[in-house]
């Protein structure tokens, strides 16, 4: 779609899991050799198996490996890579890493370091948005607890306490009154310091029952920028997105025009380079406010890709290699796409992250269904990293069709060996509110979770125990009968081979 720039021949992917696999797919397609990196815990991981080459960069702890700038740059140099793609998470929004990459003579597939720095600081990003004429949520900052308390009193409660750096809602907390403020500030400071290496805190007025809408933008670094529609990300649990879609059922064409124009104005004002996301809160009264900007690829980028037909990773790479931005008119919207994130977490125990070995995984394969996955059957889920396993994404001619297809795809997904959130996302996509698109960012916790939690913490139904017992009975009877291969059969498919074919009706 753009004239071909002088393209990289080899790119290092400074990430792991599903996003590393997804980036490798585009690199392979572009004829660019991919270099994976891995920690000691990821030696046999899928992202290592599918890259063209791989370098071990350190111990399991992220600080020693995926957050280890020196080791990453060394691996890039050793491998002969000409560029680094940071994915999302880890060092994707770390200006120091982007600087170090460029200092080593390599291209950073992302914005310029000073753009990451400026937009990654929520206070500065807010000022940038204001200057670009983008509405912002009333907010304040401060360097001491006392200062912050004073600012909070002025803003009024409820308000939001969050890390000035970082994204994804980590360490974010809603505070309902002045009494709870001190503890929230202390806790947020600790999390911010540990997660982002900077304990700076930002306060902002809490918009109640908002929707989270974000606009995908791409800039060329010299003042040009386009948008690739909005995404609806209101289905969140504790500020962690669970299900995302494009376009938003809450955005009509007039609002879309205002939202995307605001996002493009912001991107142009900083001469933004590469792909980024401008996040907005949409209030029930239709007003929207700049929330923050993510200077990287989002987890949920596939819904935009399916609706626009554009490969965002390819676009990132082309821009980093000096390619031209497509015109806004080249971005067409068709149909609808919805994504569900599959996490190793246990809803019955407060969505605790889970680790272990996936004894059996079956990802769906069907027309108009896409799966970005980081694990296959037999793969471990290490304790050290974000527990995302995969994203299941469905496209359709309209929202109903996409949602129905996603529901079918989730039914057709199996991940056994580690407890996952599959029952949670399966129930979500079947709920009436999701079907109607009638929810806000707090709906899951306020209205969906109480019943769902009761369901998953109740004793297992008799049918579940019957199924488990019958599987054992059959295994035992096969072993006794000495049926061929039965004793050695490691696979329940084989072990159950004697059951009668044909359903009961």
């Amino acid at each position: 779609m753009t004239p071909k720039p002088a393209m990289f021949r080899k790119v290092l992917i400074a990430n792991r899991g599903e996003i590393a696999c997804r980036i490798a797919a585009t690199l392979r397609e572009m004829g660019i050799r991919s270099v994976a990196v891995y920690s000691a815990a990821d030696r046999g991981a899928l992202h290592v198996r599918t890259a063209d080459q791989a370098h071990e960069i350190g111990a399991a702890e992220p600080q020693a490996s995926y957050l280890n700038i020196e080791a990453l740059i060394a691996a890039a140099r050793a491998s002969g890579a000409e560029a680094i793609h940071p994915g999302y998470g880890f060092l994707a929004e770390n200006a120091e890493f982007a600087s170090a990459t460029e200092a080593a003579g390599l291209a950073f597939i992302g914005p310029a370091p000073d753009q990451i720095r400026a937009l990654g600081d929520k206070r500065e990003a807010r000022e940038i948005a204001k200057r670009a004429g983008v509405p912002v949520v009333p907010g304040a900052t401060g360097s001491s607890a006392a200062e912050l308390s004073k600012a909070a009193a002025k803003l009024g409660f409820p308000l939001l306490v969050k890390a000035a750096l970082g994204g994804g809602g980590k360490g974010m907390r809603v505070v309902g009154n002045a009494a709870a403020l001190a503890e929230a500030i202390e806790s947020a400071t600790r999390v911010a310091a540990s997660a982002f290496g900077d304990g700076a805190i930002y306060l902002e007025r809490h918009i109640e029952r908002p929707r989270h809408i974000e606009v995908q933008i791409v800039g060329d670094g010299v003042g040009g920028a386009i948008h690739l529609l909005e995404r609806e990300c209101s289905l969140q649990r504790r500020h962690q997105k669970v299900i995302e879609e494009c376009p938003s059922p809450a955005v009509d064409n007039a609002l879309r025009e205002r939202l995307t124009s605001a996002a493009v104005a912001l991107a142009k004002s900083v001469r933004y380079r590469g792909a980024g996301t401008v996040e907005f809160l949409l209030a029930p009264d239709g007003a929207f406010y700049f929330l923050e900007m993510n200077t990287r690829l989002q987890v949920e980028h596939p819904v935009t890709e399916l609706v626009t037909g554009i490969d965002l990773v390819r676009l990132q790479i082309e821009i980093a290699a000096g390619g031209k931005l497509p015109g806004q008119s080249a971005i067409e919207r068709r149909g609808h796409a919805i994504e569900a994130r599959i996490y190793a977490e246990d809803a019955a125990r407060g969505f605790l992250p889970q680790a272990g070995t996936l004894v059996r995984v079956r990802w769906p394969r069907a027309p108009f269904v896409r799966v970005d996955r980081g694990v296959e059957s037999g793969d471990p889920v290490p304790v050290h990293y974000d527990p995302i396993l995969a994203k299941v994404i469905a496209a359709g001619v309209n929202r109903d069709a996409a949602l129905l297809r996603l529901s079918g795809a989730l039914d057709d997904t199996l991940a056994h060996g580690v407890v996952t959130n599959l029952p949670f996302v399966r129930a979500l996509v079947r709920s009436g509110e999701v079907a109607r698109g009638a929810y806000d960012t707090e709906w899951i916790e306020r209205e969906f979770l109480p019943d769902f939690t009761a369901l998953v913490t109740a004793p297992a139904p008799e049918a579940a125990l019957a199924a488990a017992a019958l599987a054992e009975l059959l295994r035992a009877s096969l072993a006794t009968d000495g049926a061929p291969g039965a004793a050695a059969a490691p696979d329940p498919f084989t072990a159950l081979g004697r059951w009668r074919q044909g359903g009961p009706g």
Partner: protein, 167 residues
């Protein structure tokens, strides 16, 4: 055939026997029912019980069985024949709920604690999880130090419940 299961904190017992064809007599926790079970071509099971019609898929992992039942998932532990374990002592927080690093220890041996009181904090997968006391009682001993990496299920605190709370 009898199988004993652990379903979270609950002990469950199932007695299953073939009635011929695809029919089975299955007692779950002593309540008998007739169950029809059919194998689908891909290994899934269609189970018909008096309460309904379900599609199930069972994956073994050691003594653990991952059981999918329609849109829901269950994890059942097969108790080794005869030897029945009691309910896991954790029942709400004295063991590490997952592997992680102990970031804070908020109690010491001899402390009296109330139900819900934070005992220690564990960091795993970039999130902090506070372990709270499941009941009022006295801390007998703390089994972990700050900075220690602990495995999932590892005991963290020994607690002596209050007499009034123990029944």
């Amino acid at each position: 055939m009898r199988t004993d299961w652990r379903d979270g904190d609950r002990a469950r017992a199932v007695e299953a026997s073939a009635l011929g064809g695809s029919r089975y007599l299955v007692s779950v926790d002593g309540a008998p029912m007739e169950v029809a079970a059919e194998r689908l071509p891909d290994g899934r099971l269609v189970i018909e019980t008096p309460t309904g019609h379900f599609v199930a898929e069972v994956s073994p992992a050691g003594t653990r069985r991952f059981v999918r039942l329609d849109a829901l998932e269950f994890v059942l532990d097969l108790e080794s024949g005869g030897r029945r374990r009691g309910p896991r002592s954790s029942s709400g927080g004295l063991e590490a709920p997952m592997p992680g690093v102990v970031t804070r220890v908020m109690v010491a041996g001899g402390d009296e604690v109330s139900a819900g009181q934070p005992l220690l904090a564990l960091e795993a997968m970039k999130m902090e999880h506070v372990i709270r006391s499941p009941r009022a009682g006295t801390v007998k001993s703390v089994l972990a130090r700050v900075g220690e990496m602990v495995a999932g299920g590892r005991g963290l605190v020994e607690l002596e419940p209050d007499a009034t709370d123990a029944g």
